[in-house]
Symmetry: C2
Subunit: 507 residues, 2 copies
Amino acid sequence: MVSSIIILHARDNVAVARQSIGPGDWLEPDRLRASEPVPRGHKVAIQRIAAGETVRKYGQVIGTATQDIEPGQHVHTERLEMRDFALAHEFCVDAEPAALLPEAERATFQGFLRADGRVGTRNYIAVISSVNCSATVCRAVADHFNNKGGLANHPTVDGVIALTHGGGCAINIKTEGYLYLTRTLAGYATSPNVNGVLMIGLGCETNQIPAFMQARGLAEGPLLRTMTIQETGGTRKTIAAAIEAINSMLDTVGAAVRTTQPASALVLALECGGSDGYSGISANPALGHAADLLVRHGGTAVLAETPEIYGAEHLLTRRAATPAVAEKLLARIDWWRDYATRNDAELNNNPSHGNKAGGLTTILEKSLGAVAKSPHSQLEAVYEYAEPITAHGFVFMDTPGYDPAAVTGQVAGGCTIICFTTGRGSTSGFKPAPCIKIATNTPMFQRMADDMDIDCGGIVDGTDSIEAAGRRIFARILAIASGEPSLSEQLDYGDNEFVPWQIGAVM
Amino acid sequence: MVSSIIILHARDNVAVARQSIGPGDWLEPDRLRASEPVPRGHKVAIQRIAAGETVRKYGQVIGTATQDIEPGQHVHTERLEMRDFALAHEFCVDAEPAALLPEAERATFQGFLRADGRVGTRNYIAVISSVNCSATVCRAVADHFNNKGGLANHPTVDGVIALTHGGGCAINIKTEGYLYLTRTLAGYATSPNVNGVLMIGLGCETNQIPAFMQARGLAEGPLLRTMTIQETGGTRKTIAAAIEAINSMLDTVGAAVRTTQPASALVLALECGGSDGYSGISANPALGHAADLLVRHGGTAVLAETPEIYGAEHLLTRRAATPAVAEKLLARIDWWRDYATRNDAELNNNPSHGNKAGGLTTILEKSLGAVAKSPHSQLEAVYEYAEPITAHGFVFMDTPGYDPAAVTGQVAGGCTIICFTTGRGSTSGFKPAPCIKIATNTPMFQRMADDMDIDCGGIVDGTDSIEAAGRRIFARILAIASGEPSLSEQLDYGDNEFVPWQIGAVM
Ligand SMILES: [Ca+2]
Ligand SMILES: [Ca+2]
Ligand SMILES: [Ca+2]
Ligand SMILES: [Ca+2]
Ligand SMILES: [Ca+2]
């Protein structure tokens, strides 16, 4: 018989109801019955929790019992509240180093070892626009290779991506906004999944290519070329020169071969978009388990989307490997408060009325539903948007929650593969990194079968477990990192989702 | 013999040196000699200007003489300064109604008369993404029609444009940023150059299509369809359904025919990008003359790019048709001050050191170089970004100076044709509106001959006049409005320059 509850973590003293539970219904066969109604998705106590004791879900504290709670009782706003226990100065107290597997037991995949020691999962050439004004030229160049036979003799090149965007001019170069843009462009130019780069400018833009190259420590070479439309003499001449420049790279780029590489070289972007009430109990915990496995094999998993962890940052600072990591996270939270204030935006991750009706009680619990897709080990590093990721294990990057801008930052930071959980059905992809779509519920998985790689709905239905789904996701990460196309790659997503996070004024 | 100076307006008491002038050189053959050196691009007095009198260039006041100036003397920082003469309360004092031509003498063009009485210059179908997440689907749909034969039997349809962008989610719908985005999307959906619309969403985005439609007063019909990827069941099904939806529009859209229409129906976007030292003395004044002609024929010319007129707004408020128009302009200037402050950006249109070396003395003079591309008649209306343009004559729209965002706002407001002056060589285009490129100098025109429609360099060289070039531009406006393709259309620009001005926070 399928259990009527989901226990999200072995340390939890509450579980989540898979479906509506009535008084007297068995929670665990022959062991525990519900003593009162528990709506679907709501919490029920599976241990005795005395008044003043902490309530744990996801293995983490989500609040404090306001009265004695007996096993089988419904745990919600009347019995649970958030108290000021998670103080900023308690840095690192919950940090647990990753339980690394012995080297001999670690997984491998087939990847492209690059000169800098990093390992790519794809072998792309990128045509990067310095400014919107060169976007059409960049796309015409990519089109020549992708759709007009330009790669016919080079099957080992995965494609030519045009990385175009709406910015690059009329921006103050002393601002954070310009730093974010240029760090993003440089991050893609140096991605392990990109093996050749042509950067094309208009010529008169604020984002001058030579200054950009110098500021980001990039130098021209056979596999990193630049040109401007104005210097080259207009659109047609630039497209011709660009095709010639890329043609000159094709033999070298195409000569790259996949070799057996350790899973520790993988840098996984964790993302959720189009969340639903199941995200926090099926796909996210399953991805968290897969991320645990990746980290135990020595790899890196990158949580992001700062607005979605807002209000629970103290749980992450408690898990920080060092006080400096915790402080960097809190600095980003402060930045967000200021950003929101300056822009009349609201930074509020408190459970909404609808969230509460769905069973979420506290801001910690809501944020933990987003954090659930990350590893359980200590937080090794915090990165600003599009900063190069160098640490291994569980790391965090400051990004908005907005999917394309978040993933663009992660890929710019060096992520070579993406796992994207979704309840409503997000379909996007993000060249040059393959993206694996993980559905939170089976009806959506079936309705959008062309787009969804993995179904975690069985966790809700009781036919699957978080651990089993996590192992399936991890296996899929290795397979897709090794070259198998994800569904969004088969659908040719990824040419329109390069969205550098734009902050600051457009003048 | 070619005159060594350019007189920009009959009311001016200074002229601009075409080339370096030495003491004793003739300024006007047999009439006026230079009494001292005047560098190229600098001003020279052509009348006596007493200390305290105003100095006029572009027919406008650019400052006050600080000493008596004799004809033939160099007029720059030592003899000219800006004083507080242009006060905000002097609204409307310089307003001159347009000198409309008699109806019988007015020009016509071949355009598409739409049901609402407006007239299109092109006959497009638009696939509009509500959010970045549907961009790839929108582009795949457009590709089917533009590049895979989907329009084979419909030669009278100019194309299917995918209007995709980086926004649409993680934005507060109560903010100006959301208003600007939705006004822009609605403006393109209702453009006279767009005859059929399919709006595609993902489904879970902030910018919900039904709410958007209601807020913007749009209703579904045979030529305005909507769908979401999530409701339609994923990427492949949505592309198929979208192609079917557009196929159902093709006969109706393709049945539109060009008929003789008055030039008064034209709404011209004025834009400059990649300016150089010649912009203010050749292409901009020539375009200003063409805009004068358009306005005299009853048409509308839309100046934009608020940061470029900053500091000279009082010259425009003096030309305002009504105090309300002047007040609306000043309100936008106040908005910009606040926007710049909030974003640590600098709003400073003062002549730079380089500008001064080039001969520009005051902020008024610099701004007037940008204003020079607009008509000389009174300012009839001021519009916020992407607001529907309803007035005729000379109007202003608040946009950034950044070309793609500026033109996107103008086209959203209803502009059906664009004249774009450039000194460095901007190459972009903006479907669904044709864009005419006007070069400020002949060397660039020749170097970028594939991209530049019109050369105004002869004004600098003395082989052409502002009036003659203006008449050529006006003739080209009528020809291109009637269906002749501009060079940027021949190069298929315009699929990547739809850049709604993004202001506010991305969360
Ligand atoms: Ca999310
Ligand atoms: Ca997200
Ligand atoms: Ca056609
Ligand atoms: Ca300009
Ligand atoms: Ca501009």
